[in-house]
């Protein structure tokens, strides 16, 4: 036994086993996420189940499990959708109660802007109440009209968001200037009259846009009639139809096409129906912008602090204490940083900014409430130990001879630091930044109280001056996962979306890291230094 241990074999197995265990756990987690997320976009077959008691259920089967406490009896979970007709998206059915299973070719899965999926048979197309086409001919006519309906919907959205949004933006600015003037005691005069005239002009423009909207909405008269299970009919305006598919008749290439389109919609569109439908684009945008902003803040701050600690401060007890404190900062629960962010950044700093520069908007806070800037600052604070420690280690690894060589050439300490030490320590700084970004992208708790919201009305970057709005609240993939998974009114329907969002978040973290790693490797090649 002793001999065996001394041979080293068991220790190799022990180390290998530890690595294997870690890999299996991480791999298993990834596999669960990938499998669940990947299946979300696949157009699954629609099955029509006729039960022995005469009821009919149509929809994809999403789960099959044994009934608890009874051996060999299984039940199915069917996504019948049609929440507006039945009240619930999912129905459990005992397999023993099923009389017949069919795969009807005419079963349509309709994605709409409200109420989730609609599953049924398309029976007619109506225009202003009058039937235009019915039976099998109806679908042909609907398919012809859908693109026009979609572009009409987009046009209305553009007017609402961009044109009317722009008018609102300007009105708000003028209103604030008026309030500012009033606060200073100006109640009349040319300036106020001018502003009032501008307001009136804007009101005119608003009315014109309203009229245009009304006209466009007036065109949305076409509806389709869908016959659902139990003989219920639903009249659905074409304006609400996002997509219609017949999964039972789709070929594999067609399904792949639909899959790709669904993935694209997921990453490029705004969420609908309290985040349980639609895409996650605002959350992707918010996550990336927040991480970038955090990087821009944390890198200079952390690097400068590390330079002082290692290059300038006299090494002694005090510096050691500071170093220990910085290292321990990394172990403070992130929610504590969040609370600090609220107390210091939002209330103290933001509140002061509001009093000084945005007093006309008070009591509505501008910077004195959660926003992307404060969230980024809070995360920068959270990740600064990582950057400091990595930079300090890099500085310690730079040979003394390199600094001496520069000093011996008559360079000052500053010149040495900037021209020799900084380039040599760059790879270490990037290592720290990689770790910081990975940490920040996955952090949720401090964000929840410093500026992340369930649904942000606008992106932090848009077409209105000053284009980047650091005071805006934003959406974040990590919070989105929590919100959709645990705060959603329809958890079952939203569950695949949780996995898809998780996969996306992981992909973004990996992408950000790959970018930083590529930069670091390029720098390393350039300087070919052994110091990591």
């Amino acid at each position: 036994m002793r001999k065996l241990w001394r041979s080293g074999e068991p220790f190799i197995w022990l180390t290998g086993g530890a690595l294997a265990t870690a890999l299996i756990m991480v791999g298993g987690l990834l596999a669960i996420i990938v499998v669940n997320a990947g299946g979300f976009f696949w157009p699954s077959e629609v099955v029509r189940l006729s039960l022995k008691d005469g009821k009919v259920l149509t929809g994809p089967i999403v789960e099959r499990e044994p009934i608890p406490g009874r051996a060999d009896v299984w039940r199915l979970k069917v996504k019948v959708a049609n929440r507006d007709l039945y009240g619930a998206d999912f129905v459990w059915v005992d397999e023993s109660a099923i009389a017949r299973r069919e795969r009807p070719a005419d079963a349509a899965v309709i994605e709409r802007t409200e109420w989730g999926l609609l599953i049924g048979t398309i029976t007619a197309l109506k225009e202003g109440g009058a039937v235009v086409a019915s039976g099998p001919a109806a679908w042909g006519e609907i398919a012809r009209r859908l693109p026009a309906a979609a572009s009409l919907r987009d046009e209305i959205r553009t007017i609402e968001k961009r044109d009317i949004g722009g008018i609102n933006h300007e009105q708000e600015k003028i209103r604030l200037r008026l309030r500012g003037l009033e606060a200073r005691g100006v109640t009349g005069g040319a300036e106020i009259d001018g502003l009032r005239a501008q307001l009136a002009g804007l009101q005119e423009r608003y009315k014109a846009q309203e009229a245009r909207l009304a006209e466009l909405r007036g065109k949305q008269t076409a509806t389709m009639v869908v016959l659902a299970d139990g003989g219920k009919e639903k009249e659905l305006p074409l304006a609400q139809v996002v997509d219609v598919s017949f999964p039972n008749t789709m070929s594999v290439p067609a399904k792949l096409g639909a899959y790709a389109a669904d993935v694209w919609h997921f990453v490029s569109e705004d969420p609908r129906e309290s985040n349980t439908e639609g895409g996650v684009f605002p959350a992707i945008f918010g996550t990336i912008m927040m991480v970038m902003l955090m990087s821009v803040i944390v890198t200079p701050l952390g690097v400068l602090a590390a330079f002082y600690l290692r290059e300038y401060a006299r090494q002694g007890t005090f510096v050691s204490v500071v170093r220990i404190a910085v290292n321990n900062l990394a172990g403070v629960p992130s929610i504590v940083f969040g609370v600090f962010g609220v107390g210091f950044f939002i209330y103290a700093v933001g509140g002061t900014i509001d009093r000084l520069f945005f007093s006309e908007a008070l009591p509505t806070p501008t910077y004195g409430t959660g926003g992307i800037l404060w969230a980024s600052l809070t995360l920068a604070l959270l990740t600064i130990p990582v950057v400091i420690v990595a930079t300090e280690e890099g500085l310690a690894a730079i040979p003394r001879g390199m600094r001496e060589a520069s000093l011996a050439l008559g360079a000052t300490k500053l010149e040495t630091t900037l021209k020799v030490v900084l380039p040599a320590v760059m790879p270490s700084i990037l290592t720290g930044l990689i770790l910081a970004m990975a940490r920040a992208a996955g952090e949720v708790a401090p964000l929840m109280i410093t500026g992340v919201v369930k649904l942000a009305p606008a992106l932090p970057v848009d077409g209105f001056w000053p284009f980047v709005h650091f005071d805006r609240k934003f959406m974040h993939l990590g919070f989105h996962i929590y919100d959709v998974g645990f705060q959603s009114p329809n958890v079952d329907a939203a569950r695949p979306m949780v996995f898809a969002t998780t996969l996306l978040l992981l992909a973004i973290v990996v992408l950000l890291n790959l970018f930083a790693i590529a930069t670091r490797n390029r720098l390393r090649r350039k300087y070919a230094t052994s110091a990591v």
Partner: protein, 266 residues
């Protein structure tokens, strides 16, 4: 260039122009005295070697000449050092100006993690040379002077860390002479090199002494005998003997010097 000196002359009576004059120099690291009352003068355009066992203070003495000891905490220095007539121990003296006049090559080659060209151009840039053509000229001249130009002229933009140990050390010499110092200090420049690279550097030193005053610290007595015109033997912080190299090696005046060079200790 062979040096013709009277082998019987004592150090003090040699008719040379002194470049560096050291007077009653003592140095303490904290409470420990590392140099004791050292006095000597280094003649211009000659190679002067310091030999002695490890810890005898020869590197410390060398580093006094460009005030690199300033970087060490708790150093205290007494006495005077004049280089070209200027007292360099004056606290008001700008050490960067001094170091531009007194170049240094270290024991371990320490090129910057930059290209070969940038390594040599580093000093001139610090001095404020911005013109590309001027810089290229300085780089070529320095690399030629360091006998490295033929080997690296086609890869000036590659990393200096890709060079061999001997090439790196010659690059460090080129970097040091790019700012055209008066004095070149060499702290055991060959201790990490193989015999062939060492021979090249020694050859180079004989070449360079036409333009620079060289002070070298070495462990290797043969090296001191081969390259230097004057040698100082140090022991426990004292300069035991200083004189013309040939005389010191063939006819040492001090018993301790004789013991050391004949290998009886050290």
């Amino acid at each position: 260039m062979p040096v013709t000196l009277n082998p019987n002359a004592s150090a003090a009576s040699i008719m040379e122009t002194p470049m560096v004059e050291i007077e009653r120099l003592s140095l303490w690291y904290g409470a420990k005295q590392a140099l004791k009352d050292v006095g000597m003068s280094v003649p211009k355009h000659r190679v002067t070697a310091y030999i002695g066992p490890s810890g005898c203070g020869k590197s410390t003495l060398l580093r006094c000449l460009n005030r690199m000891n300033d970087l060490v905490d708790g150093v205290r220095i007494e006495g005077a050092i004049r280089i070209g007539g200027t007292d360099i121990s004056d606290p008001a003296l700008d050490v960067t100006e001094l170091r531009k006049r007194v170049g240094m090559v270290f024991q371990k080659s320490n090129p910057f993690p930059k290209s070969i060209l940038e390594n040599v151009a580093y000093g001139p840039r610090i001095l404020g040379v911005r013109n590309r053509t001027d810089l290229d000229g300085i780089v070529e001249r320095s690399l030629r002077a360091a006998a490295l130009w033929e080997e690296v002229s086609d890869r000036l933009h590659e990393s200096a860390l890709g060079l061999s140990g001997g090439q790196q050390q010659r690059l460090c010499i080129a970097r040091a002479i790019a700012v055209e110092p008066d004095v070149l200090l060499m702290d055991e420049p060959c201790s990490a090199l193989d015999p062939i690279a060492t021979a090249k550097i020694e050859e180079l030193m004989l070449e360079l002494k036409n333009s620079y005053t060289i002070v070298i610290v070495t462990h290797n007595m043969q090296q001191a005998a081969r390259v230097s015109d004057y040698t100082g033997f140090m022991l426990l912080g004292e300069l035991v003997e200083f004189g013309v190299t040939r005389q010191l090696f063939t006819n040492p005046r001090d018993r301790r010097t004789e013991d050391y060079i004949t290998g009886r200790f050290g």
